[in-house]
Symmetry: none
Subunit: 194 residues, 4 copies
């Protein structure tokens, strides 16, 4: 990694949590110079514009989540346990402090939906791929008879995603851990019934 790449990476690491917390419109170039200690000129030397920083930060934030998940998953041979990793990671923001500001997929989709097509596209693809990964896991579980053969992989996958993001929503909205836990319970049930 040469100098340019290192600076770029440095900016991303500092700016990513800000974007995830304040959103695209709420994050300013000054926020970035402040958190990096660099000048605006330097940021513009490494990125074409604010958009490009935002895009790179989204990918960084998303990658952090993905890696935490797949690291945990590698420890479990059972597909049911692999699926339960999502529950574990998403319900322990303390233990997996990767989502400063919450799930980047949710944040980005909600903010960018009507205003920022490129970010929106990126988040959309990420959800599609997430679903595909879940479908693969569920089909693999069916193949080895860990899961029932009546299980609908696509519907289960997308429902799990909806429940996980919905759980984040109810937790943040109400601020009451009991609400998050209740949804977690429902997701666990869903996974155990597969």
């Amino acid at each position: 990694m040469n100098k340019a790449e290192r600076t770029r990476q440095f900016i991303i690491e500092k700016a990513a949590p800000i974007f995830n917390t304040k959103g695209y419109a709420g994050t300013s170039l000054s926020d970035m110079t402040e958190s990096t200690g660099l000048t605006k000129g330097s940021i513009y030397g490494n990125f074409a514009d604010k958009d490009e920083v935002a895009l790179a930060c989204f990918e960084y934030n998303h990658k952090m989540v993905r890696e935490a998940i797949s690291n945990e998953m590698a420890q479990f041979p059972s597909y049911r346990d692999k699926l339960l990793v999502y529950v574990e990671v998403y319900s322990n923001p303390r233990k997996y402090p990767l989502q400063h500001g919450g799930c980047p997929l949710l944040n980005t989709t909600i903010e960018a939906d009507d205003t920022h097509p490129r970010l929106r596209a990126l988040a959309g693809e990420a959800v599609v791929k997430w679903k595909e990964r879940l479908v693969d896991l569920i089909e693999a579980g069916k193949a080895i008879k860990e899961f029932k053969k009546t299980t609908d992989p696509a519907r289960t996958a997308i429902t799990m995603i909806a429940l996980l993001e919905g759980m984040i929503f109810v937790s943040r909205a109400t601020g009451d851990p009991a609400n998050g836990k209740a949804v977690i319970e429902s997701i666990r049930n869903l996974i155990h019934e597969l």
Copy 2:
């Protein structure tokens, strides 16, 4: 309704969909003057500041959704049917064009979480009350034996909310109606199993 109240209402009606679409940080006073045809001075004659407009718009947006739901619900005596109204309304943004920009609870919670405490508080209370209304419906259904006595009202209520908002998320993220429909199917199942 006097002139001031009418203007206030007019501003809210014009600004509410903009706030719901672009978010608080993304909506400017100029957006409001443009959409209302009024001047900034006029908006400040009717609201203390941008915050107050945003708060009023959130309440307006939220009220629109609530009223659509309760109007539909009144038509059904069965509690199961009443619960299914949520599915109906939330899955037909065309037919119930009340959520220009999506569900205000979801949008507001996600954006305001880390940046705008008053909006955040408003959205939080709204979700808590929504849960209470669902719990009441489920308990009423249990009372008349429409629902099983093993049904857990609180967990069911908060899971339904998570699934409905999660459904909006996957629909908007992927842009694929099939994904939304799959989650809808899961919510219907949840309701039928009560």
Copy 3:
């Protein structure tokens, strides 16, 4: 005094201390509506514009000072004592609470000098008349041999004015009562040497 005149007077009484405190540029129409409880329309119904209010307020403030002085003076037959009344009044802002914000002649002259010709003219005339009144008192004192015949009325008068306003300046600038008192002492000496 009819309704219109009473309202006009009411506005002046409420606005005068604000103008004297914050200055012309620093006083807004909103300051006036706030302190009077009236609407802007009402103020514009009684005055052509902000200028006219300011002019009337200056005259009111100045008249208050003049009247306090001449009321006190009436009690003393001696011209020396009459002159000492200025010292008394100007050095006791507590006892004669007429100068909320300080001497209106000083405030207005300093602010309006380069920016507000009509106010400036008013304040200028007021100082000229003040000087004339002092000259008259000193000449009357000379006529009855209370003062020395070598006393220069014009120079003494304008020097007294300069010392009185200069005393206000040093008091306000330094905030130290000792400084004001020292100048007071000098003015007393001046008067006793007449």
Copy 4:
């Protein structure tokens, strides 16, 4: 002096006479962009806010006066002559064109007294130091027997300040040079009697 310092100095030089003429409230950012030819952004790149420009301008204006005084003073060995320099400089605004808008101490004290604590503090300290300098001169004069041993340095110093500022006041208020000259005459007498 690097670019930033030069620009900062340039802004101060252009803005200082405007602040001294129009006052703090009466001077706008647009006045500054107009007189400098710079943009608002550029001014904000060199100063935190309008306050900081005003503070710097006050110090600049005040320094100009101080330097003119001490340059003149250096030419005279006699302490009486040194004191007379104040009279000379303050009574010749043409010859010492340093007070565009009048004495910054007077202007600032009068305007800022009730509205702008930081400016007020700056002006207050400046007057205190001015008095101290005068006291030092008078004591030095006493030490070499140029002045009488009965002379009260503190009272004389503060009285001189009051008279000098009072002289500016009567000059500006009445617009009649004779009035200024009469006060000048009194100050000269005061100094000659030391």
